[in-house]
């Protein structure tokens, strides 16, 4: 590494912007090279002088004066912009509500049909010819309807057995 390469790093070295390895390389070089050490010192003095000049000579705390001006620039209340995460959550909530509404609308014909089956008289009755001469509905989806029909069947069964009772039994005949 020659002096030119090392001097190119002087500004960053004084700014503490070099890696540890690069900083060590500079220090090892200037320990041995008087000319580079002089260059570095001169640069350091320049930056020091600039810092002294740039710094305000006598900064004065003027907050009291500033405080009196604050109401004059006080803006009318504006809502704080919502954070993106909150907007996202709100959007998801709205989409979920919309999805529930759409699902309810889609399912409503089924619900209406189900309600009709629950509350209306048995329909689509067909005679199956099960020997009792009883018209049995071929579709009994709900429990109350099922129980009612079972009662009807039981009643008709009793009626049927009473007719059999009138005929003499086989053992009696034998």
């Amino acid at each position: 590494m020659d002096c030119r390469d090392i001097q190119a790093d002087f500004i960053r070295y004084l700014d503490d912007d070099l890696s540890e390895e690069e900083g060590l390389r500079v220090e090892l070089h200037i320990a041995e090279c008087y000319r580079c050490r002089e260059q570095l010192d001169e640069l350091g003095r320049l930056l020091e002088a600039c810092r002294d000049v740039i710094e305000h000579p006598c900064p004065v705390d003027r907050f009291d004066e500033l405080r009196q001006r604050l109401p004059s620039v006080d803006p009318p209340y504006t809502p704080v912009p919502r954070r993106p995460e909150l907007r996202r959550r709100e959007l998801i909530r709205k989409l979920a509500v919309a999805a529930v509404i759409v699902a309810a609308l889609a399912a409503s014909p089924l619900l209406v049909k189900g309600a009709r089956l629950l509350f209306s008289p048995v329909q689509n009755t067909a005679t199956l010819g099960n020997g009792t001469g009883v018209a049995v509905p071929f579709r009994v989806p709900f429990l109350e309807e099922k129980l009612r029909l079972q009662e009807e069947v039981a009643e008709w069964s009793i009626t049927g057995s009473s007719e059999r009772d009138e005929r003499p039994s086989r053992s009696a005949r034998d």
Binding site: I11, R12, L47, C50, C58, R62, F63, L66, D74
Partner: protein, 196 residues
């Protein structure tokens, strides 16, 4: 909390600014006290004028207060403050340019507006300043605005390269190169003035 210490003194800058958002003047006072020296020094380095730098510092904090509801607590707070300071300075340059184009001939106005630090050439101001400081301000005035800004922000202390990059809205390596270019030009301009 030690006696005599206000509730704001131990709080971090971000927490204070969040309170400022809700109109807390005590928190704003604490932030002002933490940063007004650096902000004034920034404007002093850019303009060379102590009085102007105080006025521009006031303007900077006034804008921070006015636009406090936009603060989002993302990023470094010093970068936030100096972003405002940068904008105030750029507006100051634009207004100076407009005013000088109206009052003076365009050639003269152009020379003056490119080197705001040459206000130091005003006789009264120059008399108060050492010769070296005069030369330094003249050399600073010859730098392009962005290079001067990067150099001044880094010199006043308290701002990292990434803070400066955020305030100047450019990549960190751009800040590094602007600073290096500024220092090399200053070295060239001030060669021989600094003696052991």
């Amino acid at each position: 909390m030690p006696a005599g210490m206000s509730p704001c003194e131990g709080a971090v800058d971000t927490a204070l600014m969040l309170r400022v958002r809700w109109g807390d003047e005590y928190a704003f006072a604490e932030l002002y006290r933490r940063y007004y020296r650096q902000v004034m020094s920034f404007f002093h380095g850019m303009s060379g004028d102590a009085q102007l730098s105080e006025d521009l510092c006031q303007e900077t904090f006034l804008r921070i207060w006015k636009l406090r509801q936009r603060y989002t607590a993302s990023g470094s707070f010093p970068a936030y403050v100096f972003a405002f300071a940068r904008n105030v300075w750029l507006e100051q340059c634009r207004e100076t340019r407009k005013r000088l184009h109206v009052e003076l001939s365009p050639d003269v106005a152009e020379v003056i507006e490119l080197a705001p630090a040459s206000r130091a050439t005003h006789p009264d101001v120059a008399a108060e300043r050492s010769e070296l400081a005069q030369y330094i301000f003249e050399a600073l005035g010859e730098l392009p605005v962005e290079q001067r800004m990067a150099f001044v922000m880094r010199t006043i202390g308290g701002l990292s390269i990434s803070d400066i990059a955020s305030a100047m809205q450019c990549p960190p390596n751009t800040v590094r190169s602007r600073k290096v270019l500024a220092i090399n030009k200053l070295r060239e301009s001030l060669k021989g003035l600094l003696v052991l």
